[in-house]
């Protein structure tokens, strides 16, 4: 039975999570705009969140001995809050950078090196 004809299980969610994670990492690596980089970080965190929720669901797994239980869902709730806090600080820092450099291009952050 191919991956596409199976009933939806953990692995399908893991694929979604992996796609989100990889998109986030690529976004962080290639975006020159600091806001784009921050969006990439959010994607990475949400990729992990999808994993946590999928692992903790009792309906998706056949081998319940290794189910994550409620822990996973609680972690993803906490991570959503943490991501908001982190985004608030990172945006404030970006604004501060803009005030000093008149740009949010991360390639212009090149005065410190060596």
């Amino acid at each position: 039975m191919s991956f596409f004809s199976q009933p939806v299980g953990v692995s399908h969610f893991l694929v979604v999570g992996a796609v989100l994670f990889v998109s986030g990492v690529v976004c962080m690596a290639v975006k020159r705009n600091a806001l784009g980089v921050l969006m990439g970080i959010e994607l990475v965190l949400n990729g992990a969140n999808v994993n946590f929720v999928a692992f903790s669901s009792p309906f998706l797994r056949s081998d319940n001995a290794y189910a994550l239980g409620l822990d996973g869902q609680l972690i993803s709730l906490f991570v959503i809050v943490l991501a908001a806090a982190e985004a608030a600080v990172a945006l404030a820092i970006t604004l501060n950078f803009y005030n000093n450099h008149s740009t949010v291009d991360v390639d212009r952050a090149d005065e410190l090196k060596g």
């Binding site: 893991l14 600091a34 990729g47 969140n49 994550l68 972690i75 806090a85 950078f97 005065e111």
Partner: protein, 559 residues
Amino acid sequence: MSFQELIANLQYDTVDVSLSLFRPELAICATIVVMLLARLPRIRIDAFYVALVGSAVALWFAAPWRYLAAGATEAAGPQEIFTGMLIFDGLTVYFRSVLLLFAVLFIVMTRLSGIPDREDGADFYTLILGGTLGMCIMASANHLFTVFLGVEMASVPSYALAGMLKGRRQASEAALKYSVYGAGAAGVMLYGISLLGGALGSVHIPTMVTQLASMPAEALAERQTVLMLGGLMTMVGLAFKLSAVPFHFWCPDVFEGASAEVNAFLSVASKAAALALLLRVAIGFGHLPQQPAVENHVPPAAQAAVTAAQATLVSDAPYSAQEKANDDGLSPTRDYMVGIIALIAAITCTFGNLAAYAQTNIKRLFAYSTIAHAGYMMMPVAAAVALLGRDPPMAEKCVAALAFYVGVYLFMNLAAFAIIAFLRNAMRSEQIADYAGLVRHSPGLVVCFSIILISLIGLPFFSGFIAKYWAFYVLVPAQLIWLLVVGGLNTALSLFYYLRVIKTMTMDPEPADRLPVDFSMISAEGVYVALVSLPIVVLGLWPDPLMRWVDAACRQLVN
């Protein structure tokens, strides 16, 4: 278990067991709230005093003298608190005390060096104490979620601290770099944790280890790639906090852009907490917990039933005590961790020492010195994990070596950054070239700085020597001779750039364009520098008290 019982258990666990062991953190939380209230226009108390009193109270509650001293009134046996989210043992007490002692000394230093002005004081100290709170949680983490939470709670205030100097281009750049790298590393780490948790069915470290050790071979083979990948990704987050190569990019830039005070916080407290966290994760995954994970948060009434349940659980377990002593099924995990940690340690300290040569800015030099020292301090961790299966008492000695190193490192780097901050105030420069001929103006300060630098190299008669000797010594029983050789060569390498600073201060002619330096040792700043440098000498000649403490802290780490 009925809902009623569940609530009763939770209440017993939280109120009767956990909260009293969590008092230092609670004291910090209270201080933060009081500090925010103290800004109200009616009240207007200087945040400095609130922060100082709050951190001193927290240190009082951490009370290493009660748990670690020879005639300790209360034993610090390992005890899981908050339903297993955190662990309380000697190591928790020790690292928490180190962090809070640092907080007290640091707050005094910031008052003397004047970096948070009265206007910014409350913000600055709130961020410092918030970061310290996260670091205390890192030091006592027992659950991969508290690992992540602690890292984030320590990192997010640090990002803001790095950009604290408003209107400075370099500070804003440093903060941006730090926050982007830090958030990226944390995201990767969280993804790694999700993989580990999914493959092992838990995120509570002792349960995960038990699962890993008792997993049938075919299930293990199926999960091997995921576990290795997850472990590697979790290591990314830890390596970032440790500023270990290849995740060290932020460190020199942030140190150059941020103020010397913030550097002291990042290089001492953040590093100590990151090492404690690395220990928690590495030791946690390297040995099987003695008892099944769920216990001791049960009210005495329900104890009998649980004991019966435990008895069946233990007898069901696929390993007997005899087998466990020889092979607990974790030696591949240990080998994997030793390989990664030892390799990163070797590369990190070599890179740090080589890159430090070309530096002209003293803060940048110390950034690379911090990176190199993170490498040295990871060596005993690798040794501890390698010895966990063979010789647990020796593994505890390795951890004790690290704990001693961290204790000494606190004074060395705090004093160094205090001197850098005071000299910045005195002569408006952080270039090594401007330190030339300083000995003619302020011989006392140069003597202190030389003591610190010699101790950082690890030359005899100062505490840095004992710390480094002990950290290298434990590599021999761990059979990591190659790491010992790398460490020895690196010490020789580091000799030159530390001594160059001493040579500049004592032998070189003064630069003509330097502002006049007026720094007297007979001043609050001078006395502070002398007092913080004093332990470096004292612990070098008389290390026994601290050694006894670290031994006590590590005695029950591996059961």
